[in-house]
């Protein structure tokens, strides 16, 4: 048994968990449909796409950076993947998507680390470029009619658990392991905490920053794959605004935008909080016009509560 103090300490460490439980209880009381297995699976499946992107964003933000280009990377990898898929090979399509994500991430990381330019500016630019490339590539038209063997990824399930949830949990475990048990993870915290000290300690800061942005790009492509498979099409407008959802999940999870602090456990619950709010408000028939305002209010309340004096 954990004693009371330990539980309190854990609660302080992961305020997003507390927030998630609180909001869930709130909706469970107001709607009897909320706390059903099918609805819970529904929430997790809806959240999986944002959550996977947010895991990559977690690493970027802990390292003291930001990646605004994830939404554009999402769209670009989705449309290129879809066109390769139409050519036949599912494996090749997925591979190409991940490579596109990795290239976008590499470009971000390389310019940020080698060129020593602020991540906000660099990824703002690559966000615009990525979106433009997507529109040029598709001429603004959606790509539809994908092979059914690919659509399974978005719609199939294993023992009743949809594949997107399984892929999200797999990614979660991977990023959690990287952050807590690998050199890359330790260096991510170190670079975000104090880049000069990290460099003087012999950390190859440029290399690790590039790796971190590549991971963010690849995870954007991975979540693009899930949405494309689920909708059976790739739209050039995919992913707009997703970067803000990802950042919001990371911040709700307790990370600091100035770097050095954050956890992927916090992030998954940050994403779940946003998912539960969407879902709960839908169940309560609240007009979708209000949903953004509620999300915004929750973010403000969360950061106010987490503020350190």
């Amino acid at each position: 048994m954990m004693d009371k103090n330990k539980i309190l300490k854990k609660m302080k460490e992961y305020p997003a968990v507390v927030g998630f439980i609180g909001i869930s209880i709130f909706f469970a009381i107001l709607s009897d449909r909320f706390f059903t297995l099918s609805n819970i699976i529904n929430v997790f499946r809806q959240v999986s796409i944002q959550a996977i992107m947010a895991f990559g964003m977690t690493m970027v933000i802990i390292s003291g950076g930001i990646d605004l280009s994830v939404g554009s990377t999402f769209a670009l990898s989705a449309v290129i993947m879809a066109s390769v898929l139409k050519g036949g090979s599912v494996f090749l399509g997925i591979l190409v998507a991940l490579v596109v994500g990795a290239l976008m991430g590499f470009a971000n990381g390389f310019i940020i680390a080698k060129g020593r330019i602020q991540p906000f500016i660099v990824t703002l630019a690559t966000m615009a470029i990525g979106r433009s490339l997507t529109l040029v590539y598709t001429q603004g038209m959606p790509i539809t009619g994908l092979p059914s063997s690919f659509r399974v990824i978005g719609r199939g399930n294993l023992l009743g658990i949809p594949y997107p949830i399984i892929i999200m949990l797999g990614t979660f475990i991977l990023i959690w392991f990287i952050l807590s048990n690998t050199k890359l993870g330790l260096y991510t915290y170190a670079i975000g905490g104090n880049e000069t000290a990290a460099k003087l300690s012999g950390v190859k800061v440029i290399k690790y920053k590039i790796i971190i942005y590549i991971i963010s790009g690849v995870l954007s492509a991975l979540s693009a794959m899930l949405l494309t498979a689920r909708l059976n099409s790739a739209q050039p407008t995919f992913g707009s605004g997703y970067e803000l959802d990802a950042i919001a999940a990371v911040v709700l999870g307790g990370a600091s935008l100035s770097g050095g602090r954050g956890s992927v456990i916090g992030t998954i619950f940050g994403a779940l909080i946003m998912g539960v709010i969407n879902n709960g408000l839908n169940l309560l028939n609240v007009s979708p016009f209000y949903q953004q305002a509620v999300k915004g209010a929750v973010i403000l309340i969360a950061v106010l509560l987490e503020r350190e004096d």
Binding site: N181, K183, L186, Y187, Y189, A190, N194, L200
Partner: protein, 492 residues
């Protein structure tokens, strides 16, 4: 009596920061506040300056009981604090910095403001232009700006928190001249410093705190240095500068014609096994850049560098320097040495991941053992290996930096200002570590602005002036006077 504190007590969660402390300050008096880190000096000046509120006790200011609820109330009543970090706006002008807290109008007449500021500066013989940007000034000029700001507010008490910690000997003398003039104007000055000789130089009275308790106070002339040290540390430190290294005949490190941009020009030196080699010089002389260049942090060139018979052509990054056996304890432990958000264990491991790593995966159980052993080895005072570095005292932070740097078993160790801002007890521990390190056959390069420690600790001393090597002093020639002469460009 200008200020009188009676039985001031202040508790923070888990610590009794001040325990019935008394303090008195008269007009025109410089009162030194002495104590090791954690003794309660900062808490006391924060209570005087309105940052904290005392839990118990009374404050009399000009005869009346006062209780300031925030810093601006204290400032408006004539109590100014000049913090170590100075808190100036780098991108604004000197004039704007002086008047920023005191602007009553919505629109500012910049010309008028600059004129007023210039008057104030000239009246006090501060040689600064009111229209310069603060970022263009050096640290001691910035200090003058902070003092001018205090004067513009007609302050009656000026609190100076370690004003000499980051300025040179020469600048310190200039500062002391100004302090004396403030004194003549009747201003009461509370002066915090770690440097004993400065207390004797400038202070009229002294109050010593230890572990939050009032130990004693009186006229400086009634004490000698050892008495004050004993009051501060509560135990006898017979020898402030232990020295017991023995030099071997073998050279472990040598460099010829080191060049670092415009900062360092053709500097050559060599270090023997077991030797403590000092580098002295004023701020901006290039002494701090030498280790950064050799270590691969700043772009540097040299004709020949040899570490234990191996010639090294180029070092592009710190990780290469580490592989060659070069270690650096950097100048500022907070901004260069530690990741403050991380715990002690991770700070030690960050430079030593190879000890606990297999294919990129870290085995924390090994790290725990290492960190526990290091805490013991360097007697780092901490609640556990998982205490965050930011919550350690200055001396213990420095020991964590030293631990992580030495864990690699380097051959030559550069230490830059390793005792800056740490208490007397911790300083002695650092000197002992350096001696032991030398006796293990390492070469030590000791770079410091504190002349007493350079003189007492080093076997030879290279003195820098404007990027040039002015000469290497040896034996009896190593004196504060000789170093100062060379450092200011005077031949001896």
């Amino acid at each position: 009596m200008l200020l009188k504190l009676e039985n001031i007590t202040k508790k923070f969660p888990g610590v009794l920061a001040l325990d019935h402390v008394n303090f008195e300050l008269n007009n025109g008096e410089v009162h030194a506040l002495l104590g090791e880190n954690g003794a309660g000096k900062s808490t006391l000046i924060k209570i005087i300056g309105g940052v904290h509120k005392a839990d118990e006790g009374k404050i009399y200011y000009e005869g009346k009981i006062v209780s300031f609820s925030n810093p601006s109330e204290a400032i408006n009543n004539g109590i100014a604090t000049i913090h170590q970090e100075l808190n100036l706006f780098e991108e604004l002008t000197v004039a704007e910095n002086i008047y920023i807290g005191n602007i009553k109008k919505a629109f500012i007449n910049k010309k008028q403001m600059i004129k007023e500021a210039q008057n104030l500066l000239s009246k006090n013989e501060f040689n600064i232009k009111a229209e310069s940007l603060v970022k263009e000034l050096n640290i001691s000029e910035k200090q003058l700006v902070a003092i001018a700001k205090a004067l513009s507010l007609k302050s009656k008490i000026i609190i100076m928190d370690e004003p000499t910690a980051s300025i040179t000997e020469h600048e310190t003398q200039t500062l002391f001249k100004i302090v004396k003039e403030l004194k003549n104007k009747g201003i009461g000055i509370i002066f915090i410093s770690h440097r004993m000789e400065e207390v004797f130089d400038i202070a009229d009275k002294v109050t010593v705190l230890r572990d939050g308790k009032y130990i004693g106070s009186g006229y400086v002339k009634d004490f000698d240095q050892n008495e004050l040290i004993n009051m501060m540390v509560g135990r006898k430190i017979d020898d402030m500068f232990p020295k017991y290294n023995s030099i071997e005949n073998e050279t472990i490190f040598s460099i010829e014609n080191l060049k670092i941009g415009k900062m360092v020009k053709n500097v050559s030196f060599e270090v023997k096994k077991g030797e403590i080699f000092g580098i002295a010089g004023l701020v901006g002389s290039g002494k701090s850049e030498i280790p950064l260049g050799i270590y691969g942090y700043m772009p540097a060139k040299w004709d020949r560098m040899i570490i234990e018979n191996e010639e090294i052509k180029k070092i592009r990054r710190p990780n290469e320097a580490l592989n060659y056996g070069i270690a650096l304890v950097p100048e500022d432990r907070k901004s260069m040495g530690l990741i403050l958000e991380l715990d002690i264990m991770k700070n030690i491991i960050i430079q030593n991941t190879d000890l606990i790593e297999k294919a990129g995966v870290l085995f924390w159980s090994k790290a725990k053992k290492i960190a526990k052993a290091e805490i013991k080895k360097y007697s780092i005072k901490a609640t556990s290996i998982n205490q965050k570095a930011e919550n350690l005292s200055g001396g213990n932070q420095q020991k964590v930096v030293i631990s992580k740097v030495l864990k690699k078993n380097p051959k030559v160790v550069f230490l830059v200002e390793p005792t800056r801002g740490i208490d007397v007890g911790a300083k002695v521990e650092v000197y002992n570590i350096i001696n032991r390190l030398a006796n293990d056959g390492n070469g030590i390069v000791f770079i410091s602005s504190e002349l007493p420690e350079i003189v007492s600790l080093c076997d030879r001393v290279l003195v820098m002036h404007r990027g040039k090597n002015m000469g290497i002093l040896e034996g009896e020639k190593i004196t504060q006077e000789n170093i100062l002469k060379l450092a200011t460009g005077v031949d001896i």
